[in-house]
């Protein structure tokens, strides 16, 4: 049994290393995409699009590995949560990588656009902020730091604010005639892509909280719905069970 557990934990460690590697690929892809965009570097954009295959390959491998361990070891409690979280993180990171590819593809669509200092600065700051969030999310995952993971939602406010500023700056630049409509639309989308990468980091944080504590933000909504259903049944006189052990933890 001891041997089996040892091998199980080695498997878990390897899966964690794989997730860290995926996150590293994402945090390296985002600044590259930003540089390709700002320097109108089509070669770099193409390299990024091709390099996403590595992320996809790793994602498929990790998913299979997780399924394999789930099927063979039938883990329970925190071990099960660690595996199900790894599956979820895998999907979040894979999607984040796709968003970096989207930025690279948008670079090709608006090739040759010149950005003023404000736009340039905002795009660079969004890229840095998205990467920072992703790094914090991975730190919280590796350290099992539920406090940091839960704080990511609030840390993300800054990126949301930058997204609003960036969209505003794009409209302004378009109004001033500095960029055409196609570029304006693409730049708004790019801004949204950065913001979505931040959202994925927040999702990772939520999963880390679940992995460590077993609690998910959705639990609150689910509990609320159960109470509502019960209350409705009581009103119609059909339900009799007023006892409930579901706690609401509304923030």
């Amino acid at each position: 049994m001891g041997e089996l557990r040892k091998s199980f934990h080695e498997e878990l460690d390897e899966i964690q290393a794989g997730i860290v590697r995926m996150a590293a690929l994402v945090t390296e892809a985002v600044p590259r995409a930003t540089e390709a965009l700002l320097e109108s570097n089509l070669e770099m954009a193409q390299q990024l699009i091709t390099a996403d295959d590595e992320l996809d390959d790793l994602s498929v491998y990790l998913e299979e590995r997780c399924h394999h361990v789930l099927a063979l070891q039938a883990p329970m409690a925190s071990d099960l949560r660690a595996l199900s979280s790894a599956l979820r993180l895998n999907a979040e990171l894979e999607r984040s990588g796709d968003l970096a590819v989207n930025i690279a593809k948008a670079t090709r669509r608006i090739y040759g656009t010149r950005y003023d200092a404000t736009l340039r600065g905002l795009l660079v700051r969004m890229s840095e902020e998205a990467c920072r969030l992703m790094r914090l999310a991975i730190d919280s995952y590796v350290d099992g730091n539920a406090g940091l993971a839960a704080a990511l939602d609030d840390i993300d406010d800054q990126l949301d604010g930058l997204n609003r500023d960036c969209v505003q700056a794009v409209f302004q630049a378009h109004n001033d005639g500095a960029i055409d409509l196609q570029a304006a639309v693409q730049l708004c989308l790019i801004s949204r892509y950065y913001e979505r990468i931040g959202d994925h980091a927040v999702n990772i944080g939520e999963r880390v909280v679940y992995m460590v504590t077993g609690w998910l933000p959705e639990h609150t909504g689910s509990a609320r719905m159960k109470i509502r259903e019960q209350y409705h049944l009581d009103e119609t006189g059909e339900g009799t069970d007023k006892e409930t052990d579901v706690e609401t933890d509304e923030e």
Binding site: A17, V20, A24, A117, T118, R120
Partner: protein, 400 residues
């Protein structure tokens, strides 16, 4: 008689028994001695092996290159301290560890392989990972991977390439213009056109001469030749630099706010070099500011350091460029730099002056908010040496 014979026989038997016992004893002692010697030899050989292995391990620990050794099955046996952080890395550097694992697996199949891993960080890094099989006299001892940080050599190589490309370009542009203007002049008879063209020839010649002056200045400062360091009141240096930048600041309507330091704030410096450094900082601040965006010069003493800060509210410098702006000919936005008449030598001059004086220059900047350059120099307790021209240098007409 019989008794005598019996006694003699007994004595003989006893003597023989004693001799046999003695011989056995000797054998036993010799065998013991031989075993002891063998043990001693083994222990000494073992000690020598351990000593040699420790020496090798310590030597590998000491080198500034990552070394990772694996057995023929791919299990890592040894990793020196330089390679250690990569295995614990969580962010970009985790990719280096992945490359090491992949290359070791490849090398275990008997093929030497290598890969460059570029990390955008921050900080930006470039690492060269290579792996090779360890085979000796037909026996497989596993494989070894080496990790080299080639960030600095790559940066220097890029700088050298940029320098050659830039200097050719910067010199060719005015030379090309001069050649064209001369060609037009040769066939021109209208005195008005000739005089107009002559003015342009002169402007291009001045531009060329400015570039050469900057280059010579930089070269002089870099080699620190004929540098005469003497105690100088920092106030005089700033006033002189302000006087030099005043015409262009007035031209662009960029106000310069100055808080001049006390006269007794003294640094030990080559006055000419230091003035050139402060002037370049001011000149850049003016160049990259719009009209009515003020430039502020403050000087303060912090511990043993005199800090001259030039702060503007201009375009600002993107994060990714801040590490490189002190390189020769480096410009964040080439089109703008050229239109403002800069070739990208100013900050290289500032950095070298700072180094020559045992100080440093730092930049803080955000795009759209402006930049602040701080030149820090060690303070001097000496009395300033008054120079002939310093008598006339009163704070010039700028707001205090």
């Amino acid at each position: 008689m019989i008794v005598t014979l019996v006694v003699v026989a007994a004595v003989v038997v006893l003597a023989l028994t004693a001799a046999v016992a003695w011989r056995e004893h000797r054998h036993f002692v010799d065998a013991e001695e031989s075993r002891r010697r063998d043990d001693e030899l083994h222990r000494r050989q073992e000690d020598e092996v351990v000593e040699s292995e420790t020496r090798l391990r310590l030597s590998l620990d000491a080198i500034t290159q990552g070394v990772v050794m694996a057995d023929p099955d791919g299990n890592v046996l040894y990793r020196n301290p330089y390679a250690q952080p990569f295995i614990e890395a969580r962010h970009g550097e985790a990719l280096v560890e992945a490359a090491v694992a992949e290359l070791l697996a490849e090398a275990a199949r008997g093929r030497a392989v290598e890969r460059e891993v570029e990390l955008f960080g921050p900080p930006r890094q470039c690492l060269f990972v290579s792996a090779m099989p360890l085979r000796f006299e037909g026996r497989d001892y596993g494989s070894v991977a080496l990790i080299d940080d080639i960030t600095e050599p790559q940066r220097l190589d890029a700088m050298r390439r940029d320098f050659v490309a830039n200097i050719s370009h910067e010199l060719r542009t005015p030379m090309g213009a001069l050649s064209l203007l001369a060609e037009t002049l040769a066939g021109e008879t209208d005195p008005d056109v000739v005089s107009r063209l002559a003015v342009r020839v002169q402007a291009e010649a001045i531009r060329l001469s400015d570039i050469m002056d900057d280059l010579l200045e930089l070269s002089r400062i870099e080699s620190n030749e004929a540098s005469e360091q003497a105690p100088v009141a920092i106030q005089h240096v700033i006033s002189e630099a302000l006087a030099r930048v005043k015409p262009s600041a007035e031209d662009k309507e960029v106000p310069i706010e100055t808080v001049l330091p006390a006269l007794d704030l003294v640094v030990r410096a080559d006055r000419r070099q230091l003035t050139s450094a402060v002037f370049n900082l001011l000149d850049n601040a003016v160049k990259y500011s719009e009209a009515n965006q003020p430039v502020r010069v403050t000087t303060r003493m912090e511990g043993d350091w005199v800090k001259v800060e030039v702060r503007d509210q201009g375009y600002g410098i993107p994060q990714g460029h801040q590490e490189r702006i002190f390189e020769r000919f480096y410009q964040v936005d080439r089109s703008r730099g050229r239109s403002d008449g800069g070739v990208g030598l100013g900050l290289a001059i500032v950095r070298h002056v700072a180094t020559n004086h045992g100080g440093e220059v730092r930049v803080e900047s955000a795009v759209g908010e402006g930049s602040a350059f701080t030149l820090a120099l060690p303070v001097s307790d000496d009395e300033p040496v008054e120079q002939e021209d310093s008598q006339d240098l009163q704070p010039i007409g700028v707001q205090a």
